[in-house]
């Protein structure tokens, strides 16, 4: 009962932390946006807007109210799931509706990229560790360095020219929403997912290889071998499981980069996701839309980190 209560307290504390970070993040985005230069009225009304039209726009969206009041109003709405309406790029459309239509595409591409990165890194990392010092290890390590060094926008165009325009294997632009066709989404989403996955796969591979090599030489592994366990058993139960903890932690940390990657890659490949929406909203100073998108991204990162903590706790052999 005591353990249960203590676990409940820990979870509640962690949840409280998540809420606090979300609040701070939302406040940071809100005030940073307002501190920057630019005016949503100019984006909505055009550069020919008269001062009267600008004033009317600002009055309609209550942009001249004190900032604290504006933030409080926005926060109260957001707490109930009402993010208000887009001021500029979707003039008057409810933001919750926009997010509902765009978030699934971003989550799909993100999950697809993560799945690709994990698949590639598990294979390359394990092979490199088991063939330490040989050609395969060198090749995997070099590929990882290359992957980390490549900016995602550059890699996107390389993939387009090589695999779409060169070999004609994939579409060079556009994306089928998973709700329309899951297979179509897998096909049309492959290049954008790969562009996001490549640098992550490289980072994961390096981490997994290092963790496996370190663990391979630990005392408990030698003990397991001396007890007569087979190499496969030792690797799976004593090496791989231990190495997974830093590996999973790195995956959690990389998720924020994954979401950042979608912002760039979505625009290049024409994926109508939350990232491209947020970029255009930011250029247009569509304040409530940027705030809502940023909050959704932030909550996604927090949820993933929360999940990673739980997974790491489960993976810890000391719990077994």
């Amino acid at each position: 009962m005591g353990a249960f209560a203590s676990g409940l307290t820990r979870t509640a504390q962690r949840f409280g932390g998540v809420v606090l970070i979300a609040l701070l993040g939302a406040a940071a985005v809100f005030f940073a946006l307002r501190a920057g230069q630019g005016d949503p009225a100019l984006a909505a009304l055009g550069d020919q807007a008269t001062p009267e039209a600008v004033a009317a726009f600002r009055a309609r969206w209550r942009l001249d109210d004190p900032l604290a009041l504006q933030f409080g109003r926005w926060l109260a709405g957001a707490a109930t799931g009402d993010f208000g309406a887009s001021m500029v790029i979707a003039s008057g459309e409810p933001i919750a509706q926009l997010i509902a239509s765009r978030l699934p595409n971003t989550l799909f591409i993100g999950a697809y990229a993560l799945a690709l990165a994990i698949s590639i890194s598990l294979t390359a990392g394990v092979v490199a560790a088991l063939r330490h010092g040989r050609f395969v290890d060198g090749a995997a390590t070099s590929a990882a360095v290359l992957g980390i060094s490549m900016p995602d926008f550059w890699l996107s165009y390389v993939l387009i020219y090589a695999l779409a325009l060169g070999l004609g294997l994939f579409p060079s632009y556009g994306f089928t929403a998973p709700s329309a066709s899951f297979a179509g989404a897998l096909y049309s989403g492959f290049l954008p997912a790969l562009a996001i996955a490549a640098p992550m796969a490289a980072a994961f591979t390096r981490m997994l290889r290092t963790a496996l090599l370190e663990t391979l030489h630990r005392d408990h592994v030698r003990v397991a071998r001396s007890l007569g366990h087979g190499e496969r058993f030792v690797f799976v139960h004593h090496v791989f499981r231990n190495a997974l903890i830093p590996y999973v932690t790195v995956i959690g940390l990389q998720v924020r980069y994954l979401l950042g990657g979608t912002v760039v890659v979505e625009r290049i490949f024409g994926v109508n996701g939350l990232g491209s929406l947020m970029v255009d909203a930011a250029f247009a100073r569509d304040y409530p839309l940027v705030q809502a998108c940023a909050l959704v991204f932030l909550v996604c990162v927090l949820i993933v980190n929360f999940a990673v903590d739980l997974v790491c706790a489960q993976l810890d052999p000391r719990r077994a």
Binding site: G36, Q37, G38, D39, L42, A43, A44, L45, G46, D47, Q48, A49, T50, E52, A53, A56, S86, V88, I89, A90, S91, G92, E93, L98, Y157, I160, Y161, A164, L165, L167, G168, L169, F170, P171, S172, Y173, G174, F175, T176, A177, A180, S181, A183, G184, L186, Y187, S188, R267, I268, F269, G270, N272, S276, L277, V279, D280, F283, A284, R285
Partner: protein, 516 residues
């Protein structure tokens, strides 16, 4: 023909892509042979589809196909009737237009003179805060003579009137009074009703617009009854989309890639000298550009031809004036020493100014790479020739625009595209009350010339007055004219019927397009 290990068609079939799930918004794509895929490249936002409120070029790209105006340009850039069958000048201040009979709006309503009156008066109405209001404020009355005849009367003779009644970036496209009244302005802006060959079927914010053909259009039913217009934010992605056969047509092309694209057989590059101007806006009220000698020195301290080569990759021409050389009124302005790269003359002029070597100034740059390159090369050359210390500050357009509106800038790269009358260029940029005059330039002499040009209806006399204004601008150098760029469209070779105009048209041609 290129052979692939696995064809795209097979991949599409395997993944269900060809079974109706489109990779573009709205489900067009190849599965429907009747769908034209016309990508709007370089833009991610459309705010409105109401001509009265429109200001962005992608909004007009769509509206050109949804609406007609009273007049339009033909392929020789001559003004001809659109919804007006004919027009004649009754006197210096009265234009009479005979309207086409039997024209239907897309909702089935009849087009009459009352719709003309309504369309122009709503742009002029101060309450509506139309960005195009200044174009129609000289109109004193739109008088209905009969259901198919209107007279547009102006307070004074009004030189730009005919241009401002064309289906270009004017806002005077004709809307249905009944539709606006019944729908309300906000709803109309999303599902507008015009007489054009396409109706708006769907508009997804930040994604694109889907059009459907209007079988009852007076110009005839279009060959493609469905047009999918995705908004492709990155210009280079528009190019890769058409190269990969994901779209059929683009609204523009990256300058650097034009020479390569011209060598391809599956794509045609349409291009011509554009009606646009690219220049350096100067804050005439703030150091160091408050000194005419300094402005003139800077003008002679950079090579416009270098900008054309390095920024446009040759896709344009250096321009001595903010009025583009392609303009119907202009022709070629004679070479003038004030806009010729001449380091010695630049240094001599600099010596007359109140500023010395080492003078600092900040140049705002924004937008895509070529705009930034434009500013960087300009600053590099000027610093080298004059020994001044101009620096670059990069930001997005919204922030830059807000800075100029507040008067908080020294210099900025700037440009306008698709304007059809000199009044929009010289008048609005250099007139002391012109809304494009972000330079705080005010000259009584210039205002006098511009007022005369605006009230002159003889084209030759108007041209002569604008020439005087251009010459005055070269003396006082309130802005630094640099170059005009070509306009481009990429089109798949199996399609015909798209006629390109210098003002960067788009949607008006969808109805003429056909396979083969």
């Amino acid at each position: 023909m290129t052979h692939h290990l696995v064809s795209r068609r097979l991949m599409m079939q395997l993944t269900g892509g060809a079974a109706g799930a489109s990779i573009l918004p709205f489900g067009g794509a190849r599965a429907q042979a009747q769908t034209l895929r016309a990508g709007i490249a370089g833009f991610g936002v459309i705010n409105t589809l109401d001509p009265m409120k429109a200001s962005l070029i992608p909004e007009y790209y769509i509206m050109y196909g949804v609406f007609n105006a009273l007049l339009k340009f033909n392929s020789k850039m001559e003004i001809v009737g659109d919804l007006a069958e004919s027009y004649k000048t009754i006197d210096d201040k009265t234009l009479e237009l005979k309207l086409r009979r039997g024209v239907k709006f897309q909702d089935g309503g009849d087009f009459t003179a009352d719709d003309v009156k309504f369309s122009i008066e709503r742009v002029a109405d101060e309450k509506n805060a139309s960005p195009n209001r200044s174009k129609v404020t000289p109109i004193s009355e739109v008088k209905i003579i009969d259901p198919h005849t209107v007279r547009i009367m102006t307070k004074d003779p009004y030189g730009p009137l005919l241009n401002y009644l064309t289906n270009t970036r004017t806002g005077t496209q004709i809307v249905s009074r009944a539709a606006v009244t019944s729908m309300g302005q906000e709803a109309f802006a999303r599902r507008p009703v015009g007489t054009g060959r396409y109706m708006v079927k769907d508009w997804k914010a930040n994604e694109g617009v889907e059009l459907t053909g209007f079988a009852g259009a007076f110009e005839g039913a279009p060959r493609f009854m469905s047009v999918n217009c995705p908004l492709i934010a990155e210009e280079s992605s528009g190019m890769t989309a058409i190269l990969g056969n994901q779209i059929d047509l683009t609204s523009t092309a990256p300058f650097a890639d034009v020479p390569t694209l011209e060598k391809r057989t599956d794509i045609r590059v349409l291009k011509q000298a554009g009606l646009n101007t690219r220049y350096i806006a100067l804050n005439n009220k703030r150091a160091p550009f408050d000194d005419v000698h300094f402005r003139r020195a800077v003008s002679m301290a950079f090579d416009r031809d270098v900008l054309v080569k390095a920024v446009l990759f040759g896709e344009g021409v250096a321009s001595p004036s903010i009025l583009p050389p392609a303009h119907w009124l202009d022709g070629a302005l004679a070479a003038n020493p004030a806009v010729k790269f001449d380091p010695a003359a630049a240094r001599a002029e600099f010596a007359k100014s109140k500023y010395k070597a080492g003078q600092e100034g900040v140049m705002l740059v924004w937008g895509s790479n070529w705009w930034r390159r434009f500013g960087e090369i300009f600053v590099g050359q000027v610093n080298q020739v004059l020994g001044v210390k101009l620096t670059i500050q990069a930001m997005d357009f919204n922030a830059a625009l807000a800075r100029t509106r507040a008067g908080d800038y020294d210099a900025m790269v700037m440009g306008w595209l698709g304007l059809v009358d000199p009044d929009e260029y010289i008048g609005e940029m250099l007139g002391s009350k012109g809304f494009r005059n972000i330079h705080h330039y005010a000259s009584e002499k210039m205002d006098g010339l511009l007022a005369r040009a605006r009230t002159e209806i003889d084209p030759k006399k108007r041209t002569a007055i604008y020439r005087e204004a251009e010459t005055l601008a070269l003396e006082e150098m309130p802005v630094l004219p640099c170059f005009t760029s070509n306009v481009h469209n990429l089109i798949r070779s199996n399609l015909t019927g798209f006629e390109q105009f210098a003002y960067a048209n788009f949607g008006d041609q969808f109805g003429n397009m056909k396979p083969g």
